[in-house]
């Protein structure tokens, strides 16, 4: 009996040893490493990812297309643009989506890349470029919501903080200005090659100018709340030896690819253009009457470059017929036959009168609504970070406000540079009927630069508003800051609205923040007056 038991135990132990032998081959720690993923990556690839998203992420661009384009009355009539940005519908889904996208895709990788290159002298340029890019995105998100998580944001892995505090917008702006200043100073032409740079192909001098131009944008944002501080900042920026963007050739643009894809993770085509192109066969990005009339009233040569009329002869938008001139001529009413959509209305509301076309036996009605030119709904429209024209408008305003800037260019010169660069920007980046120099000259002479400071500021910002139709984030922020153009709300146009009686000044925080970051959320709501409201003004908009 005993020997049997002993035999058994030996056999069992022997088997157990064989089994354990299996496991010694498979080191458990190694087994738990995903063979398809890496434990580290070149931060330059994260920079590329972040820069691509500037134009390419339609998740980020969606509130621009649906809310901002409607709020600032560039576009109107498309279902979402009118429902959200024209009827002021509070849609948590949209706010949550952009919040998630900003923090979990863009800022997370930037914070991680900055963290991994911090203090590394061999990565100083990568570090600086990542910091500049982070400022670019942080501006968008704080301008969108006001106080937002900033200093502690995206550190869930680095510090374990999963409930980052909501920082005051004032502190966020001051820190972003500091970041730009430091990054500009740190950028070193003899430093590491910026392999992830898809804007300037590693040209460090241009990155310095970009830092300065962004710095100017941020400084000018503060003219309403802290004009003196803004003044000091602008003086400081202009004193830097690295200089500003010198022409459209220095524009910070990201090249996009000509494709159409609704994959949420597809970043290679312009997401905003794709949203404008729409999900349906026939694009429904209609020009808003405010935008249309402003250009029409000033004989702006861009009017029929931006707005065009199309028939529905093909399900492919790029194969439809452009019938703008046909409609204008055939109806005999010229430009007046084109009927843009008023704020707060859908394209099918107030159905266009149209006219009978005896030749074609066809009643032209829907096609009389001017739409966004096909040139702007292409996948390869560039991603826009910061451009020379915007910089010149802002410098024109700065020189109109303050006369001690030590800038050897006048406000008017900056303004003229800006207008010319604005037109040229469309000529060189989009497939439009080129705007001739004579047209620009006659526009400038027909709309002379005012002599008084307030008149100048009004003119400059109205022009910047027109220019920014391709950059809705800046269009909305700069409208809120400058007050120009003076927009009437949809209510004043007779439209029914849903969740606001006036044009909202920010977006709501996503509702999930109440659950997952209650301390931060309620502290931010408290400082807004107790309720989360999109009629409340962000700090710099006071």
């Amino acid at each position: 009996m005993k020997t049997i038991i002993r035999k058994c135990l030996t056999t069992f132990l022997y088997t157990a040893c064989i089994i354990c032998g299996f496991s010694s081959c498979n080191d458990f720690e190694e087994l738990n490493q995903d063979p398809t993923k890496a434990s580290t990556i070149d931060p330059n690839t994260q920079l590329t990812n972040a820069l691509l998203c500037i134009g390419g992420d339609w998740g980020v661009a969606q509130p621009f297309a649906f809310y901002y384009c409607g709020f600032v009355q560039h576009l109107q009539g498309d279902y979402s643009t009118t429902s959200d940005g024209g009827e002021y519908l509070n849609s948590d889904y949209e706010f949550q989506a952009v919040w998630d996208r900003m923090y979990t895709v863009l800022l997370k990788n930037l914070v991680d890349g900055i963290n991994r290159t911090q203090g590394d002298s061999s990565m100083v340029n990568a570090n600086s470029a990542l910091r500049i890019t982070k400022v670019f995105y942080s501006t968008i998100i704080t301008d969108m919501f006001g106080d937002v998580p900033y200093f502690d944001a995206c550190k869930g892995y680095i510090s374990g903080n999963v409930k980052p505090a909501y920082d005051k917008q004032e502190l966020i702006y001051k820190d972003m200005l500091k970041e730009l200043t430091e990054a500009e100073a740190n950028l070193n032409e003899n430093g590491d090659a910026l392999s992830g740079d898809i804007i300037y192909k590693g040209d460090i001098a241009k990155w310095k100018s970009l830092a300065n131009a962004l710095n100017l944008r941020l400084a000018m944002r503060l003219t309403k709340v802290e004009p003196e501080f803004a003044h000091e900042q602008v003086k400081n920026i202009l004193s830097r030896s690295s200089g500003m963007l010198k022409s459209n050739a220095d524009n910070a643009l990201v090249e996009m690819m000509d494709m159409l894809d609704w994959d949420y993770n597809e970043h290679r085509r312009n997401g905003l253009s794709q949203l404008w192109r729409g999900r349906e066969n026939y694009p429904t990005c209609y020009i808003c009457s405010t935008f249309w009339n402003k250009m029409k009233d000033t004989s702006d040569p861009r009017l029929l470059r931006i707005g065009r009329c199309y028939d529905e002869s093909s399900t492919n938008p790029f194969s439809r017929n452009d019938v703008t001139e046909y409609i204008m001529n055939k109806s005999g009413n010229g430009i007046n036959q084109l009927q843009p959509v008023k704020p707060g209305f859908y394209w099918w509301d107030n159905w266009p009168n149209g006219f009978w076309d005896a030749d074609k036996s066809f009643w032209w009605d829907k096609a009389c609504r001017p739409m966004l030119n096909n040139a702007f709904i292409k996948g390869n429209c560039p991603g826009i970070i910061c451009t020379y024209a915007e910089q010149e408008y802002l410098l024109a305003e700065a020189n109109s406000r303050w006369n001690d800037l030590n800038d050897n260019t006048t406000a008017e010169q900056h303004y003229n540079n800006a207008v010319r660069a604005s037109m040229d920007f469309l000529n060189s980046n989009y497939n439009i009927n080129k705007i001739g120099n004579d047209e620009i000259n006659s526009f400038l002479s027909a709309n002379p630069f005012p002599s008084d400071a307030e008149g100048r500021i009004k003119t400059i910002n109205e022009q910047l508003w027109i220019y920014d139709f391709l950059n809705p984030a800046e269009a909305y922020s700069n409208w809120r800051r400058s007050g120009y153009p003076e927009l009437k709300s949809s209510v004043e146009y007779g439209a029914k609205v849903k969740d606001s009686q006036s044009i909202p000044r920010r977006l709501f925080y996503p509702l999930t923040e109440q659950t997952y970051n209650p301390e931060g959320y309620y502290s931010a709501v408290k400082s807004m007056g107790g309720t989360d409201s999109w009629n409340a003004h962000v700090w710099w908009d006071k």
Partner: protein
């Protein structure tokens, strides 16, 4: 190092070696066993019958301690010569054996065998495949015999268990026959896991990976591993419900275990070779239809229909009243009257057919047996051009290679092909989404002839609406396919040293390859340039186990114990190729596309375990068991990756002390306590990075891969449970009742807790929280009537699980389990609530519960925070099984009852917003009249006071200058379209339904031909009429089947775009030769 190929070769070698032993060893017929020449002084002749006096053909008579034996003939008669005082063991499958001592030569011995189901000494399969007396168990175990699964077949065998075992809740997805099933035992114990039980087939854990499932944005349910089990091969299914039952399977079993024992080869009566043929043919029809639909208004907007509307508004039913006198020109240029078309959507579905044919070959001699099965299942679904087929080959051999060595080898191969798995939820190819909103005047059949132009391009019918692609284009041109090859095998070696000690070594493996292909041809709306995605899943797992068991007696004590070791290794690889921009349009292959993106994924882990158990019993009335298991998991950090957990259980047969057993014939009390530890998924300890699979001008794009914050300090989850119960049998076992109470708490859960996304991540992996499940399970089995030829059996089961989220972490009181596509709804675990609270914004209400309406817009107002709108957990579930037997006729039925859970029906929401739901009729007439008056008066919308329309039920709040609030009834009439569109975007409240139901799962009416009719040519023949899911006796949710979840994990309580479910009727024929 483990080597797959070697393993396969070895399995085959053993298998065929074994096969040849049986097939070629001896070809002599075995009418009688060879009778050893010895002193046989008695001649015995006898008859073996069942309880009803029917002779049993093929009953075996063996002589104890002797090689001789005999088999009964067709009259149940046997003759044998034996030594005096020898013991005859009379046995027949499905009946309790009897032992008779021969005291004299007897020419008229009568032996009546009683069927096993009445036997007190029920043997059940418990953890590690160990067979135990049911009465010895200190915990509840549910069992279903294979025969119950054989007739009315489900394509996925696990669905057949619905309604049969208390506390086992089975839900199917809306994915149809090719989809997976959600099985929950005793509620959800894990906050953010799949809560699915472990499946163990003949001792080898089955990889039940769900290859793919739909989320709120939709997708396909690619099925799971268990669906490939062939019902004809199942001997029995044991459900180990609590941790005490499953403690020995370790972490993988923390949600319970479903043990499937497959059939072994056995002697078929008096023949060497037995052949069984089982065939089922069923017809399928749709069970539910979209029935809560208004039949008054057709397509259009604002009560009007413009001439160009036919393309813009076919999915909007806000148009004018149906009017047969009015003709509308449709997309195909045809003009047709504008009237309501009855049974329009039902016409989309066809009659489905499912044919299952299987052949079983059985052979046995002495201790060697082999069983071969081939099954073919072919299904033509109720959706056009949709179906699947499955071929299963199974070989099982069991033999004694040496005197003390038993070898059991099994090889199983399954090939499954599916054409057109239904897309679910918000997927653009979900045909239900198109059909749901199609206006009542628009006949779906018009789309059938016009989905494709003559040049093969998409025929546009609704301005290329990507969310309403022509369903016929989807099914005929965008065909998706999957092919699965699953090869599994196992070898069991059991060496029996003596009556007390054995050593068993089991090795098994499972290799499953699956390809899934999605395709969208050029011009498909949304994928105009063409799209194709090929997903390849290469899954493999192996399991090696050894067990040393000992058993002995000492006076009145019986005691035993075993120790074992186990290695479980899983390695799943995924490769997904996405191709876009199709150039060669005639060939559906990857090379026809210009752009290809490839991504790879991996899932691998290993658990090494050691375990032991001990049991002791005294005089067959008190039993005590204890187990201890130690696991080491590769998914946990070194230092925390080894964890030990115990269990103790006991059973007390108090009826042993009763002198009079006439009323209470059996009584048992049981109690158990157990702990189970569990691990998690691999690769969750550290941050990882990945390269984007898309090529941007040859510049690398990289980013952090994790959406969940990894945790390098994870600890195993612990579940503690206590279970008490009793088991009583009355009136000579005519009535049995089994009651179980349990309470289990899971602590230190490894869960992925949602975080503020401003942390950069959607959630973090933590150890926290406590979730409690308490419940009561009752099973009642009775034979209320038993006459000579007639009997009625009734089984009733009931289970109530009350589940509470006791605590989470850091002041977080709610975590999201899943989110809905629309209306901001989340399914949450909220502290103090049932797991699965459906949360979202609710209507703002005053103290009296009246909805507060905004006086200026006439629209309701909403809370700014998330409210609990419903619960996705069942209050209780139950089932009723009943069978009536008259002579050879049996009629049986199974009812499945689920009560109390809520469902957010996004189908209803979609119907409401498109103006098709009956509720949208309110105020329409009045509104359209008001609009006509307005237009006639030429007044703008803002300046017009509506004369009628939809008046939202609620009150308007006014505040006077002193701040006093008064409420007045809302009177503002608005456009019902505005109301439903606005409300549908803001809240789920009007679309949350009580999802309770009572379903008839199965009805079978069977007839077994009397033996005397068939004994010349077959062993037994039975014919049954079968029906699966023939009726829903009660349901509350309109339009859809209550079992319409679109995935089988956290997305319970959510339904969107569900296709009708299926009912099937047919015939089953079983012939044994």
């Amino acid at each position: 190092m483990y080597n797959k190929r070697k393993f396969v070769t070895l399995t085959f070698a053993v298998l065929f070696g074994n096969f040849s032993i049986i097939a070629f060893a001896d070809n002599k017929p075995i009418e009688k066993y060879d009778v050893a020449v010895q002193q046989n002084d008695c001649k015995v002749r006898g008859t073996v019958t069942d309880e009803n006096g029917e002779p049993l053909l093929g009953a075996t008579i063996k002589v104890k301690n002797n090689k001789s034996g005999a088999v009964t003939n067709e009259n149940g008669v046997f003759v044998i010569d034996v030594p005096l005082h020898s013991s005859l063991i009379v046995s027949y499958v499905g009946y309790s054996s009897k032992t008779i001592t021969v005291t004299k030569s007897d020419q008229n011995l009568k032996v009546m065998l009683s069927s096993d189901s009445k036997s007190l000494n029920e043997v059940v399969v418990t953890a590690l495949g160990i067979k135990r007396d049911k009465k010895a168990l200190g915990y509840a175990i549910g069992e279903v015999k294979g025969d119950e699964l054989k007739k009315a077949k489900e394509i996925n065998v696990i669905n057949s268990l619905a309604g049969k075992i208390p506390g086992l809740v089975i839900s199917q997805t809306a994915g149809g026959p090719s989809g997976s099933s959600r099985v929950i035992i005793r509620g959800n114990t894990e906050l953010t896991g799949n809560n699915q039980p472990l499946y163990v087939v003949d001792g080898i854990p089955l990889d039940n990976s769900n290859f793919g499932s739909a989320d709120r944005f939709g997708g396909y349910d690619l099925g799971d591993g268990i669906s490939s089990i062939n019902p004809d091969d199942v001997e029995s299914v044991s459900v180990l419900k609590g941790p005490a039952a499953s403690a020995l399977y370790g972490s993988r079993a923390s949600h319970g275990v479903i043990l499937i024992t497959t059939k072994k080869g056995k002697a078929a009566g008096n023949k060497r070779l037995g052949v069984e043929f089982n065939s089922t043919l069923t017809l399928e029809h749709q069970l539910t239809s979209y029935d809560n639909i208004q039949t008054t208004y057709g397509q259009g907007n604002d009560g009007r229909l413009t001439l160009t509307d036919d393309r813009n508004s076919s999915s909007s039913s806000w148009g004018p009243k149906y009017d047969a006198g009015f003709n509308l020109k449709y997309f195909d240029g045809q003009t047709r009257p504008f009237n309501y078309i009855k049974n329009n959507i039902d016409g989309f579905f066809r009659t489905g057919i499912t044919a299952t044919n299987s052949v079983v070959v059985n052979s046995a001699k002495d201790d060697n047996a082999i069983r071969l099965t081939y099954t073919n299942m072919t299904n033509r679904d109720i959706l056009p051009n949709t179906g699947m087929s499955r071929n299963t080959f199974n070989i099982r051999t069991s033999s004694k290679i040496l005197k003390k060595l038993d070898v059991d080898v099994k090889v199983n191969y399954v090939r499954e092909d599916v054409k057109n798995r239904p897309a679910l939820s918000d997927y653009r190819t979900n045909v239900a989404n198109n059909l749901i909103t199609l206006a009542g005047n628009f006949d779906q059949s018009w789309l059938k002839n016009n989905y494709k132009k003559s040049n093969g391009e998409y025929y546009d019918w609704n301005n290329g609406d990507v969310w309403n692609i022509n369903p016929y284009w989807i099914l005929y041109e965008m065909e998706n396919k999957s092919a699965k090859n699953q090869f599994s095998g196992s070898v069991l070696l059991k060496y029996t040293f003596n009556d007390h000690l054995y050593l068993q070594v089991t090795g098994g493996g499972d290799i499953c390859n699956m390809d899934f292909q999605e395709y969208a041809p050029y011009t498909t709306p949304g994928n105009e340039i063409g799209y194709m995605q090929k997903s390849k899943f290469n899954n493999s797992s192996y399991n090696i186990e050894s067990l040393l068991g000992y058993h002995n007696k000492y006076k009145d004590f019986e005691y035993g114990g075993s120790v074992g070791a186990n290695i479980y290794h899983i390695d799943n690889k995924t490769q997904i190729v996405t191709a876009k921009n199709m150039q060669m349009r005639s060939v559906i292959a990857l090379q026809s596309f210009l752009n290809k993106e490839i991504s790879e994924g991996s899932y691998r882990k290993q658990i090494n375990s050691l375990y032991g158990m001990a049991n002791i019993s005294y005089k067959s009335f008190i039993y005590l068991d204890a187990t201890l298991r130690c696991d080491k998991s590769s998914t946990l950090p070194t230092g925390n990756n080894t964890y030990v957990y115990p269990s103790v259980s006991s059973s007390f047969i108090f009826s042993e002390f009763l002198t009079n057993k006439n009323i209470l014939s059996f009584g048992k009390l049981r109690a158990s306590w157990a702990q189970v530890g569990s691990d998690t998924d691999p690769y969750q300890l550290g941050l990882t990075y990945t390269m984007d699979d898309k090529n941007y001008n040859n510049i690398p794009v990289g980013y952090i891969n994790n959406g969940v914050i990894p945790n390098k300090d994870l600890k195993p989850t612990r579940t503690n449970s206590v279970e008490l119960g009793f088991d009583l049998k009355f009136l000579n076992n005519r009535l049995g009742i089994d009651v179980t109470y349990y309470n289990q708490r899971s602590n230190n859960q490894i869960m992925s807790m949602k975080t503020s996304t401003s942390s950069g991540y959607y959630s973090q992996l933590i150890n926290a929280g406590c979730i409690e499940n308490k419940g009561l399970e009752i099973a009642l089995n009775a034979r209320p009537v038993q006459l000579k030829d007639f009997s009625w059996d009734l089984g009733v089961n009931f289970a109530k699980n009350s589940n509470k989220v006791v605590e989470l972490k850091d002041g977080i009181n709610s975590i999201e389990l899943a989110s809905a596509r629309w209306a901001g709804v989340s399914v949450c675990a909220k502290v103090g609530e049932q797991y699965g609270a459906i949360m979202g914004q609710d209507f703002m209400r005053n103290k009296d519960g009246q909805i507060i309406i905004d006086g200026s817009t006439g629209l309701p107002t909403f809370t700014s925070d998330m409210k609990v709108l419903g619960s996705a957990a069942w209050d209780w579930t139950g089932g009723v099984n009943t069978a009536i037997t008259y002579k050879n006729l049996t009629l049986s039925a199974i009812f499945d009852i689920k009560v109390g859970a809520d469902l957010f029906s996004m189908t209803a929401r979609k119907l409401a917003m498109s103006g098709k739901l009956t509720e949208t009729l309110d105020g329409r007439d009045a509104w359209y009249i008001s609009e006509e008056q307005r237009l006639a008066a030429g007044v703008s919308k803002n300046d017009w006071a509506a004369t009628g329309g939809y008046v939202a039920d609620g009150v308007v709040q006014t505040k006077d200058t002193d701040g006093n609030v008064t409420y007045t009834k809302n009177t503002k009439a608005i456009n019902p379209n505005d109301y439903w569109t606005y409300v549908g975007n803001k809240t789920a409240a009007p679309f949350i339904y009580d999802n309770s139901y009572v379903k008839v799962r199965e009805i079978t009416f069977g007839y077994t031909l009397p033996k005397r009719f068939i004994n010349k040519w077959a062993e037994s023949v039975s014919v049954s009429f079968v029906a699966r899911n023939p009726f829903i006796l009660y349901k509350n949710v309109p339009n859809i089947d209550p079992d319409s979840n679109y995935n089988n994990s956290g997305g319970m309580g959510l339904e969107y775009g569900s296709l009708p479910s299926r009912r099937s009727y047919g015939l089953n024929v079983n012939i044994k030769f």
